[in-house]
Symmetry: D2
Subunit: 383 residues, 4 copies
């Protein structure tokens, strides 16, 4: 970051898991990348004054507030970073965009399709005024995922025949795990579907450059009552524990998706496999510095999936960190997200994934829910 670089004032709403990850990224990205604007971590907003103030200090924000609305009227804030649970995304993001603030909004973009549509409309309107919005599908920013996308774009996979995407976690496999807000429909919108299937869908659509055109969906809730976090009594689980769905891709291929919090022994395995006429790809978040690539043009005798360690200087983002072979971690994706967002804002260019991309994912989630409610009946998605 050059001296004399203009500031980009940032305000963040929410400071839990995602707030910590975003704060780390705002602090770190400028240290490793030459950014065209200098992020200034102005203020974090939360509900509890003392806790928010403590979070501000701990996470590196200049100040704190209990009113997120304060962020919208401050001249020294150009961007609002929304890290709250999904039930408040629409309200905050739309208000921020209307106030002329760029917005980075965590995924899932919204808890309902209607909210997502309103957000995408607000983003369109804002874009006309030069105000930009991005949704936080951070896994797009892993070097291996970017390399996957580049290989597809370069034609190395050819026509896509199959996409296989799974997001496997196991933190609910134990029936004694508590009934947190993530298991309440009115707060979380949905369960595995919105929380992690959303990532799988975005990843598949991003890497292939295609859209799902329809689905057959299935949802399950295996454990209907769980102990409350307070330790007293139990509460109902009102979201899905697991989701699976078949899909057609816009290019004619088939998709198979699965997301669950009951995959015993799989802590956080977001896996993607893509098979095409010219090659194939495989990725697993549990080995996030690696992309497996099969080139069908290789002679049969020496053909095989290549285990590419995506850590060399020519790999996406990697050259700004360490020498080849020094792996990155989960949170680096958030730093890359900051890099790309700040770069796009400086260039007055639409960042991706846009709210329209987020809406596309939301439409898939909605279609899966409707299909599941109709015993898996085929449910079209808009082109």
């Amino acid at each position: 970051m050059e001296q004399g670089t203009a500031d980009l004032g940032v305000g963040m709403v929410g400071y839990a898991f995602m707030g910590r990850a975003h704060s780390h990224a705002w602090r770190t990205a400028p240290r490793f990348f030459d950014l065209p604007l200098a992020p200034r971590m102005r203020v974090v907003a939360g509900r509890d004054a003392a806790a928010t103030a403590a979070a501000a200090q701990n996470l590196g924000w200049e100040g704190s507030t209990t009113r997120w609305q304060d962020l919208l009227t401050r001249d020294d804030i150009a961007l609002v970073d929304v890290c709250t649970p999904g039930d408040t995304h629409a309200e905050i993001a739309i208000a921020a965009l209307e106030a002329g603030k760029h917005v980075l909004c965590e995924k899932p973009m919204a808890n309902s399709l209607a909210e997502a549509e309103a957000m995408a409309a607000a983003a369109d309107a804002a874009a006309a005024r030069g105000v930009l919005a991005m949704v936080g599908f951070s896994y797009r920013r892993l070097p291996a995922v970017q390399l996957a996308r580049r290989l597809v774009e370069a034609g190395r996979i050819g026509q896509v025949r199959h996409v296989r995407a799974q997001y496997l976690q196991d933190w609910l496999a134990d029936p004694a795990s508590p009934r947190t807000w993530r298991l309440e429909r009115d707060k979380a919108g949905s369960g595995a579907l919105g929380d992690i299937a959303a990532h799988a869908v975005d990843l598949a659509q991003f890497v292939t450059g295609e859209r799902l055109t329809g689905v057959n969906g299935m949802l399950s809730t295996f454990v209907h009552e769980r102990p409350l976090p307070s330790g007293e009594g139990t509460g109902p689980v009102t979201v899905d524990d697991a989701a699976s769905f078949l899909a057609r891709l816009s290019g004619g291929g088939m998709g198979v998706f699965e997301a669950t919090r009951y995959a015993t022994g799989r802590r956080n395995a977001l896996r993607l496999e893509v098979s095409g006429t010219a090659g194939a790809l495989a990725f697993d978040l549990m080995d996030l510095n690696v992309l497996h690539f099969y080139d069908a043009a290789d002679p049969e005798q020496t053909a095989g999936f290549r285990r590419i360690e995506v850590t060399s200087p020519s790999h996406p983002y990697a050259g700004s960190w360490w020498p080849a072979g020094h792996g990155l971690g989960y949170e680096h994706a958030f730093s890359h997200q900051v890099v790309d967002l700040v770069t796009d804002i400086a260039a007055a260019r639409q960042p991706t994934p846009s709210f329209a991309d987020g809406l596309a994912v939301q439409r898939v989630l909605d279609a899966v829910e409707r299909s599941a409610a109709a015993e898996g009946a085929w449910t079209d998605l808009p082109a």
Copy 2:
């Protein structure tokens, strides 16, 4: 094999890929296992006299014939091994059973549900007379698969939440691959569905000890016209290239299945993952001596999938081959099939998978086809 062991005369119909694998098993099993009956490789039947005679000599059969019906009237033949394409299974197997011959029939058991039902009925009738039938889902006989089944039976997996089964091949990924009989509906019955999804379904049902209760299915044919094997002209592909389906399991779990001949770079990857409340399993045919097992009872600090090399003396079948660590290959499953079948025949005990098990698989395939024809509508399976 003890001296003085009674003979078990065997006749085989068909001598192509499966005939070679079965012949190897009949020759080899008695050399490594103590069998209660001594298999005698009496005769192989085929359509072309010269080719069948050559096959007999090459594969180790005492004689050959162009009439499979000859096998049914010979006193020195107690078992008929059916290795022909699926369109002739029903006729041969039923006739053999009615003639009082035990039957080993390759999978898929039949090309249609009606045929499979007739075969199961014939097997039931024969069983009442002490004549036994088995269907050749050979992968059940891999040591790793047997160990998987034992772990489920012993409660080490607990209640099954998820089954994920894929059979991935890539020999049709090249659009220039020829239009063989396997791509003709009247000969092969179906494509990836009957050929390889059948294995995935049987494997899942066998390992879990559960049945699928219904499906949402999807089939695709990506390449509709291919060059004829003769080299002259092209012919239509009338079977599915790929199949995927969602399922419910009888125990309440979810299943996701996929079978394709277009998984570029995956030569023959039959993969199974089972997640339960007490543990999890993972298997891949491309690493067939290994079973991955996660025990949820392990303390968190040292919990992880165990890479079990299923080659130790205490592992299924393994002790009869080589010392620990000396891996087996694909064809060993067929030798184990012979061992188990001969043992059951000697004990006058129903071998598994029975024709009823084969029918259960066939019902799933049929339900997938019907569901796929109805855009994936939910299709129940009989309990």
Copy 3:
């Protein structure tokens, strides 16, 4: 970090690869861990005024200087962090300790055994005055390596029979790679030996809790002349390209070590395997969130190496970062190093690895060099 926590002023010497990694750690550790002292990044020292000032701003230091001696006289600096090439470690570290500053010194601790001995003596003298020294074998601070150590300490590996350690890089495999300072003996001390074999030795001694008692060593320089970084002409390579050695361990086991910059396709593979009477361990830096553990107490049927993803709350350091399954990267080890060093300083407790530990590694490197010069003759190490 609580408000009111006392400050720990830090000055750093050098700002290249290691300086960047250390700076990141000083910035980041307090954000994720509750530290008993608050690190203050006071000043960075370097040779070029402008470049050092730019580095200070970029890496987050309050100021800069061209005289590292300035750090020794400042009251607001309690700790000197030495990130220079090895030829200056002894001078700076000893001076700092004598000036009453705690020292964190990058590895290899020194370029010669004499220097290392002087440093260890200085550290001993300083310790008597409450001034503490630590050498930066950062890989000890990876969660998987800490877990490995804990398992050995807990007796889960039993008596150690074998240690197999390799540090494989490939950045010199191309003969056209330039002749940097790392290939000059007077600056770097040695080549692969001091740079990466040092890590392998420390890792082996740390995890096993044993010392090497003697070695048979071999060194090679494959390419003796390389293009100068300036692009004009070539310069001689005066260090080893690769080192290998056999060793005895103090507990009676055998060690095999290898370090090279010519392992084509291996970017940065630091691998350790330990075999004992009760179990075994395997680690590879290219998959740094994973430890493989074999428990010989498991029944044969279910025994196998467990792939432990060392990312769960109960794993070393992991709970302070993200939920289970969210992997860490290379630089996290440096943050953990800061955590442990600051914690020990606050507790007036000797941090590890101490300069005595660093000296122990240096003695091994020296013995390997002497052995290699004597055609691999056995060379004892002091007990």
Copy 4:
């Protein structure tokens, strides 16, 4: 095998582990490969008449004898297959060669260098009379190993910098394992060194096409007294439990070798890694259908070790077995050994590995023993 093919009468001496493996190969090779001569399994020789007769029947030999000398005078025996422990190899093999019989001799070729030299001399003399000898380093015949050799020959690895070979077993890790003949020096010659390091050395020399020019060696015996197999009392262990050595290769590269029976959790891991200026290879017997190949000519972005499943029609031997993706097992290497030996005999061509190759391995083992006895002093090998 064509009708009318001339016979090749075979007599085998010994019928334990190796005898079973060889018998399977003699029975099986002609079923899958077109051999120019038809092996006839005439007779097996052993010490105990009843046990040998039973073995003959079980393993498929026409007859049995208690005098191996009988094989040398029978006109219907053209080849003697020596599967006894190493202490009788020299006597039998030399006598057979002098009697004009081709010889296949198990490894290690002999228990001493003097014996091996006598055998190699006998083989040379026999070759002048058209009588051929081969030593049974069967792992050369795995498809993945053959492919490795071909890649080196084709220049795809370039100049070899490093060879890393390990043969890791764990059957002695338990101190209660019995003191079998393999642990007695007068019967077995040596322990891990002759039994398994021999394989590692042959593999390394075969794949690279180079010879070791000298070694620094180390041997260990960890457990000096073990229970006798009889169950009564204990007996001394008089061979090495583990061996490790450094080596120079004739092309200037470095070698690191290790063999042990104490690698807890590693049942039978024969691993080879070769690094060269143009590429690299990695192989592990525990995943024997796979070769990992890194091509340094690949662009950095898509470079990575390729996991080649060596099961396609164009791969060595593979096309004679099953379709692509159907893996082979341990014993297939013995069938391939038969194929190559019979083919060479029919062509009156020296088979490999020759007794000279076996002697080269024996010289390495001898040098390691002498070096180990001299505390690892450098020990040259003849060019």
